[in-house]
Amino acid sequence: MKNNTGVLTGRLMKHILRSPDTIITVALTPIAMMLMFVYVFGGAVRMSMGTDVNYINYQLPGILLMAIASGIAYTAYRLFLDMQKGLFSRFNSMPIGRSSVLWSHVLTSLVSNMLSVVIIFFVALIMGFRSSAGILNWLAASGILVLYTLALTWIAVIPGLTAKSMEGASAFSYPLIFLPFLSSAFVPTETMPTVVRVFAENQPVTSMVESIRSLLNSEPVGNDIWVALAWCIGIMAVAYIFAMRAYKRKAA
């Protein structure tokens, strides 16, 4: 039995290239959000934060995390379709590595989400995003985005394998898309009521937003990056275990 992850990933990449709307749709909503935050709310927010803050830089990490959360809905959707159409069974009854089907979906998710992220970066650049960060900071920031994508992808695998309907396969992503709003992604947490503030300061997205923001602004990152890493790896490990359990049940 040979590993055919490459061949199967090639198949899914064709899907994405032939319906580029997947990537565009995923990038479009966050871009619209970004326009709204920067050009509608941005002025007012900056009044309270000090005019020396580049608000485009400030809100970009949250926008990127939102894009990833909406991107993985498509991962679940593609996996669900493979289950539904019988392709999953077809591949699993062939002499190929058993996990290669699943890994091809995971890799495709990573590639397509990174494409969306790059598109959003370019739009932000046009809008005035500027970074003085060195290559190491950029690598670290990309690393967090990759890990966050992988963590959410493994979450997406679970409904992709077990959902009964198309809506069920992607509904899980809505709370994840919403999560950056309840964090320090768009406004500082100081003005929030205590309950919201406690949640916002301790949920996973905040540590990621803070570390990406500091990395790209060449500011000291502090502990945030370790907290962010711990969240990413923790979520990934738990989701992976449940995803694999669901997979073994479906693929004998």
């Binding site: 039995m1 040979k2 055919n4 061949v7 199967l8 198949r11 064709k14 899907h15 032939r18 319906s19 159409k85 019988g86 392709l87 069974s89 077809r90 591949f91 699993n92 009854s93 062939m94 002499p95 190929i96 693929a251 004998a252």
Partner: protein, 253 residues
Amino acid sequence: MEKAIEVKGLRKSFKDIEVLKGVDFEVKRGEIFALLGSNGAGKTTAVNILSTLLKSDGGTASICGFDVSRQSGKVRENISLTGQFAAVDEILTGRENILLIAKLRSVPKPDQVADDLLKRFGLTDAANKRAGAYSGGMKRRLDIAMSLVGTPSVIFLDEPTTGLDPQGRLEVWKTVKELAGSGVTILLTTQYLDEAEQLADKIAILNEGKIIANGTLEELKKLFPPAKKEYIEKQPTLEEIFLAIIGKGGQSK
């Protein structure tokens, strides 16, 4: 090594429901064997166990001498599954679908294989169209063509004509008939009596998880009392009434 498929005392339950209650049958090499039964009789469950997608609870099953649970890798090298719904990738073209399977099976000269199969299944003209745009019958033919890549010795066809229009059904029948005699062993499941009658060398009837009859069509016919002539008063059908009223009697299409 005469037997392509050997099933003994096969059992499977889902939660409290016993789907297979000790199924036995054998299929010789090169034979077309139909597993006939109504919805929920356990046909798909049996096919899924034989194609290594599902573990049985008891009994044994082997394909070309390889045990389906202990030597599943060897079994997968020898089989091809055409499931209940045409498992084609609708975003890829017909040709790409066949090439995909050829690459996964590491078949030499994949392009040649694809051209040959597309021709054989009358899909050459549609080869570069997306499979999503195919008719039901064409999808099924592509599905079966994909199953033939790498010349597997045993092919499972799970309800190959369910959901097809009469035209598509005839296309699939023609395809299966052409496969017969090529040496490949086919296990097909169906709920249509005429399909089993048309295609199969041997027929087994699966009912409530057990094989209740097994043999050639001739042998099965002998189980029934000899034909008896009866005279029945023939009532006009709604179709005949309808056609008579609108004045197109006898010219029904």
